[in-house]
């Protein structure tokens, strides 16, 4: 279907984008790679009246390392994460997870800031940022603020971003200690039916598509921290969660998958 009509504005800087958002209110949306937003507009699930195109802000396409922190510009594309030698060395989970998003053509367009702002509980990269204990830098009319990834995802496709804020940077700690990402789907290219990200040998564990947001598996993390085996820790993966039921899997099957893949991810990350 053809999307509903909208007015198109090209942002010349992040500040300009924020000013345009402030001017147009909550009917405006930022357009980066568009690979989440445009399909939603085509299905008329989203009908913004103004699109602010931030896709040309090449100064927000970078990956830098400084004092153990990796800073990634919000407009960095998934394919750039995937092929980054810096990430391969210093935070291989980000590169590896990026390589599992969609297919190559999708990765050429999709951006890290875009996938976080979209806050789809079934997306891969938000879970990686969450497990790594990352930070999201949002720019608004009064400047920048840092939001911990653990505080960022507030509901189904909802984030802590205000209507007049945009993500400008994502920070993750440099980390190549035991990590793993497990993505279960039935068809190539699909979203995860369930996914599990493990960072820092089980200090950070997050779940994909097990609730209305990407989730930290706090009970698993606590069990690993207290010396539990991977099997005992993974048994807690679905504790207290209300995963969705859909055509691919009902809630009980998702709970089962979460336990199985958490154990596999912990084992692969070096937790016995």
């Amino acid at each position: 279907m053809i999307p509903a009509s909208f007015d198109y504005e090209v942002a010349e800087s992040a500040e300009h984008a924020v000013a345009l958002l402030a001017e147009h209110g909550d009917e405006a949306k930022l357009l980066a790679g568009g690979h989440s937003l445009i399909p939603m507009m085509r299905f008329r699930l989203a009908t913004p009246t103004v699109l602010v195109d931030v896709g040309r802000l090449d100064d927000l396409r970078y990956i830098n390392a400084d004092n153990g922190t990796i800073s990634i510009g919000a407009l960095t594309r998934h394919s750039e994460l995937e092929h980054s030698e810096l990430l391969a060395r210093s935070c291989p989970m980000m590169a590896s997870v990026a390589a599992l998003v969609g297919d190559p053509a999708v990765r050429h367009r999709g951006t890290l800031g875009g996938t976080l702002a979209h806050s789809d509980p079934a997306s891969d990269l938000p879970a990686a940022v969450l497990a790594l204990g990352g930070t999201i830098v949002a720019r608004g009319p009064s400047g920048d603020r840092e939001i911990a990834a653990t505080d960022f995802f507030t509901g189904y496709f909802e984030s802590a971003l205000a209507d007049d804020e945009m993500i400008v940077e994502v920070r993750v700690p440099a980390s190549d200690a035991g990590w793993n990402y497990q993505k279960f789907n039935r068809r190539a290219q699909d979203w995860a039916i369930v996914g599990v990200a493990v960072a820092d040998a089980g200090a950070g564990v997050s779940l994909v598509n097990m609730g209305s947001t990407p989730l930290r598996a706090s009970a698993v993390e606590a069990a690993v921290a207290s010396g539990a085996s991977a099997a005992d820790a993974a048994a807690l993966a679905a504790e207290g969660l209300q995963p969705p039921s859909d055509l691919n899997a009902d809630a009980d099957y998702r709970r089962h998958l979460a336990r199985v893949f958490t154990q596999r991810a912990l084992n692969a990350a070096g937790v016995a």
């Binding site: 053809i2 009509s5 198109y8 690979h35 299905f43 297919d103 190559p104 053509a105 050429h108 367009r109």
Partner: protein
């Protein structure tokens, strides 16, 4: 309406488009470049794959205004002007990598981008790399063979 300039297959084209005009519609309806097909219309099938500044992209999931100023290559632009086929087209021909042909323009464009992006492709790499391009004749084996021939891996792929 927005005024945009696209460098399509090496030729600058000026267009007036609605912001909501998808790139695939601008290519097919405004520029009459109908080699780029529309399949699923939801970025799953890859029939509409073109190159944007040399990289594969699904033209059904991009507004034409987003491509303003970009170099775009469609299937019409990959052969030489004297009609010599692109090596990927030639490989598809030699390996009979098509049945009904509907997915073929998108497959060829995705494959050209794939061998450029991943220099050490093997059978699995080609299969993963083309997972965003669906062939509903399920003629994948010969497509994989064709792409591997261009990638120069020497492997002809498994007989799965």
């Amino acid at each position: 309406m927005e005024s945009i300039t696209l460098a399509v297959n090496g030729t600058e084209r000026n267009l007036e488009v609605e912001p909501r005009t998808l790139l695939v519609h601008a290519l097919r309806d405004d520029l009459r470049l109908t080699g780029t097909n529309i399949g699923c219309d939801s970025s799953s099938c890859g029939a509409c794959t073109v190159l944007i500044n040399g990289q594969s992209a699904k033209s059904c999931t991009m507004f034409a205004v987003q491509a303003d100023g970009a170099d775009i290559t469609t299937i019409e632009g990959v052969a030489d002007s004297d009609g010599t086929m692109h090596p990927m087209q030639q490989a598809f021909h030699e390996h009979h990598a098509l049945q009904c042909g509907y997915c073929t323009p998108g497959m060829v464009m995705a494959a050209i981008s794939l061998v450029e992006e991943y220099p050490d492709l093997d059978d699995q790499g080609v299969r993963h790399g083309l997972e965003g391009n669906l062939c509903r004749c399920t003629g994948y084996q010969n497509i994989v063979n064709a792409v591997l021939a261009v990638a120069g891996s020497g492997s002809k792929g498994s007989e799965s």
